[in-house]
């Protein structure tokens, strides 16, 4: 017995899901880049509280990225 061939719709879905997840992760990465600049500003201004807040959000976004990637696997 051979596996049934995927339908055109199924093939398209297989192709589109990684692209969609990639877009989500890219958006999260852009937000993290922004947070990194905020953290650097906080560092220059000796504002520890802001630096930790941005670090927390950045870790949260990284966890989101990992979650999306796990969904892909």
């Amino acid at each position: 017995m051979t596996a049934p061939l995927p339908t055109p719709r199924g093939r398209r879905r297989e192709r589109d899901v990684p692209v969609a997840v990639g877009v989500f992760v890219a958006v999260l990465l852009a937000l993290q880049m922004f947070l990194l600049t905020v953290g650097l500003d906080a560092f220059l201004a000796d504002d520890d509280a802001l630096a930790w807040t941005t670090a927390g959000f950045s870790v949260l976004l990284a966890a989101g990225s990992i979650g999306f990637y796990r969904y892909l696997r």
Binding site: L28, Q32, F43, A45
Partner: protein, 167 residues
Amino acid sequence: MTDEPIWRRDFPLTSAGEDETTRREFVRYLVVGSGGFAAGSVGIALWSSLRSINAGEPRRIVDLDRVPEGTSHLFRYPTDADPAILVHLPGGELRAFSQKCTHLGCVVYHEPDTTELHCPCHEGLFDARDGAVESGPPQRPLGRIDVEVRNGAVWAIENLGEQEAEQ
């Protein structure tokens, strides 16, 4: 000899399945980058928290008669990398502050014959009597430096930082 067909070597085109693998790999690189950004942000926060205020050693700044009332004098304290400003207030009092604005680190300047320190980057204004914020985007007072007059010269005694200025 490899099992790869000759056409494959001559025309190295990728199939749809291989494209998907590439997309997954690309997402993996993005996720690794995301982890790098997170680690960088945590590192910056750690560095910001762990660095300590350098109180500095007592050091002679300038002769008092070279800083008339209503004027200021720029110096560096506690290290040569830390710009500071000495203000001789109208009335005779002496105040010294870190010249680094607490908003984004630009240097502040004294408005002659006033009790104001001005940050030209984003129009922040500080009170030259205690370093408190008067207006503009800064949220915290300037770092204060304790000064005193010894034998006609102004000495920087200790870097008090922002906490002391708030009291």
